[in-house]
Symmetry: C2
Subunit: 492 residues, 2 copies
Amino acid sequence: MKFKVKDMDIASGSIHIAILHKQDAKKLDLRSGDRILVKDGKGEITCILDISESKKAVAPGRIGLFEEVLDKLGVKQGHKVSVHFTGKPESVKHIRDKLYGKKLSEKELLHIIDDITNDRLTAIEKTYFVAAGFANGWSLDEVVSMTKAMVATGQKIKFKGVTLDKHCIGGVPGNRTTMIVIPIIAAAGFTIPKTSSRAITSPAGTADTMECLAKVELSEKKIKAIVRKTKSCIVHGGSMNLAPADDKIIEVEHPLSIDAEGQLLASVMAKKNSVTANHILIDIPMGPQVKARTKKEALHLKKMFKQVGKKLNMDVQIMITDGTQPIGNGIGPLLESEDVMAVLRNNAFAPFDLREKALIMAGVLLEMTGKYRKGNGKKVAKEILISGKALKKMNEIIKAQGKQKRPVLGEHRFQVRAGKSGKIIAINNEIISKVARVAGAPEDKGAGLYLERKVGSKVKKCEVLYTIYAVNNLKLDLAKEFLQQGKGYSIK
Amino acid sequence: MKFKVKDMDIASGSIHIAILHKQDAKKLDLRSGDRILVKDGKGEITCILDISESKKAVAPGRIGLFEEVLDKLGVKQGHKVSVHFTGKPESVKHIRDKLYGKKLSEKELLHIIDDITNDRLTAIEKTYFVAAGFANGWSLDEVVSMTKAMVATGQKIKFKGVTLDKHCIGGVPGNRTTMIVIPIIAAAGFTIPKTSSRAITSPAGTADTMECLAKVELSEKKIKAIVRKTKSCIVHGGSMNLAPADDKIIEVEHPLSIDAEGQLLASVMAKKNSVTANHILIDIPMGPQVKARTKKEALHLKKMFKQVGKKLNMDVQIMITDGTQPIGNGIGPLLESEDVMAVLRNNAFAPFDLREKALIMAGVLLEMTGKYRKGNGKKVAKEILISGKALKKMNEIIKAQGKQKRPVLGEHRFQVRAGKSGKIIAINNEIISKVARVAGAPEDKGAGLYLERKVGSKVKKCEVLYTIYAVNNLKLDLAKEFLQQGKGYSIK
């Protein structure tokens, strides 16, 4: 059947969407979510169908096309196109099988991950994929297959010889150990090319924080040159398309805030495998508001990471760390970068918890190279830090990536004070993160919080707990409004 | 924050949707699928947020509202509204719990079903609900709770005393036993108010077929009067809002073609309970293209239906029937109604399989009343049919509901012929249904197929297997085009 094109003036962001009026859809026995093949004289494209209930949106005889479809097919408002039947992708059958409890093969998982990467599945189909895996669990073999599929459907950057990497599964505000560990390891002479992420639900990712000091969106060619020169880099992985399926899966995990273990394992390991890392240290924070809530959960994740690593010939070490409160004092890109630089500069006011955690991690990585005796790593890392070699290396990296102008700290400020006297017994990571985000982090690099007090210290009523920084009054007011739901501190 | 309303000129069909530009969404730390409270001076409404990626669709500072939201809030293009944070409904937490394997309480399931009924959940959230229940299974108590919740969130019609009902879980084209069973039972003096559905994926539902003879969209008051007069009715249940959650759940089951047992049990039992039926006969067809594919699956469903019935004080009997080929000869509303009337008129050419199945079912229902000896029901049913009392009762029902003008049989016809000589060993229900639908059924009442041959008979090459009827050449051509994927007959 032939239809006249209506330019919907809407972009879906990725997926190809076509809209028919409900009468036409009925004629062709098509339902919302069905696949149709839209053809003009020259080309064709598979679209996912939406149904228009009103004539105003898309009238009978017309087909509404989103921007992506118009662009790829090269048609415009008023052109005629034909619509043909086409089945669901094979991968939908595999997802159905998983829901019925079947184990999926490497080929079947590649099929699914490839279709997700290329936006061939609807949100509902992706949700069934996540839910089926979550409820029925993924076997070790399936996680390994998923990891390989994520690597295969993304870009790969090859480095030679011993290549180190570190990763934190997240959830702890201010936890910027990466930017201290990397220069220490590189200063010791080892290759450690670090691709980091931007914040998704947190007030700052390592990429956002590093961007206060240096450029982080770099081409593969540039990154290789920087690593050749400095042994390392701290760049944004997103611009490189490493294991891109991950982000597309996360889209449907958010609505229910579920942490699907299989996808977590596969995405972390795939991103490391994509940069040919062979020695990886993974930080698993444990606490009531992070992924691993209990010791049991943390130990289970540890076991799974090690097993997947073994199957992929990757040497994986795990550190289970304190995830009950923020690390460092600053929350937000600029404030966190200041904490990092204070540690590298050996400033007296540098946050002790951040420094200590980074040194332990660097120590483990040094021992993983086989060049240092077990138990000796941290001592070596500390020497490198105190000697100033780590700071020197960081400046080299910044110069190689391209120095950035320092952002301005938010000039609109508000001090949050203790409602009573006592001892601070807990800090709620979720509330602290939310306040910093509403204040403008990470988009406003100079926005965020500075924590004056951490767990264990005593406060008097009305003493400052933390300061909120925002770049305008509107955002400061939004953050203050949010404070009515809680300040994030428990005092007893 | 304040936003200027943009009338999107789109109706979602039910759910309340508001769109913000991605910059504004980031400012407020909101994501696609989040709930926001949209307020103007007078009222407020909770909406589900979509994000606009382009300024063309919704520019920064504006809020795009769908028709349902504009109507309910009473605002227009250009008005100012404010946007406020609001959390996810409680039911999302319960869905999450189910995904984690928890059993849900009656109160929690009521919460979920109520939010589904009132369009408060997104498609992704509903998908997690279906998938979680499917993968982790529903306990008997949960199915009973879900049934009660579906009854509570819909309309209820009360009838007095012994009230019979029948139901078929579907999948077999032409299976119109209802329209024969109801007049037989009513002629025997029992109350049997039948609410039927329209076709969703089949070429005709009982409501579509009955509509060729009488009006089926009637008010509750009218239905009660008809049942008082004739002891029965055959009307469309959809117009009465019985257990409305069911249709909203089915929307997210379609994309993966899954048959979620828990929802099936709950929706059938809820619809029967909503009309206060206390003796129910359920037909479970068994075959490769219907819900119960094997004897084991059929027996499991039987057990579950009986157990749920027991918990709800409903007397439930189950018949496991042949679902391997269509019942009767006509497929499509008019052609099926002709089959039914031929049986009621005791015509020589009436399809034997349809007559036989209807008599067996009527017999079981008569025995369930306790007025007839076990094994004697079918004999009584046959006497009522042969005597013409069933036909007389059917004419009474038609008159009471309001006689309809007979639709015209599709004048555009095509005969599908055997590709080789041999014995017919199978007829594919799915293909036969699809051909009839593409030819125009059920919207075109006179469209469909007439089967000349059934399983077991011998054909010679080029003899007619069935005739396709359509109301115009376009639809006939679409049906012919579809035939290239298979005629639906296996000949050996």
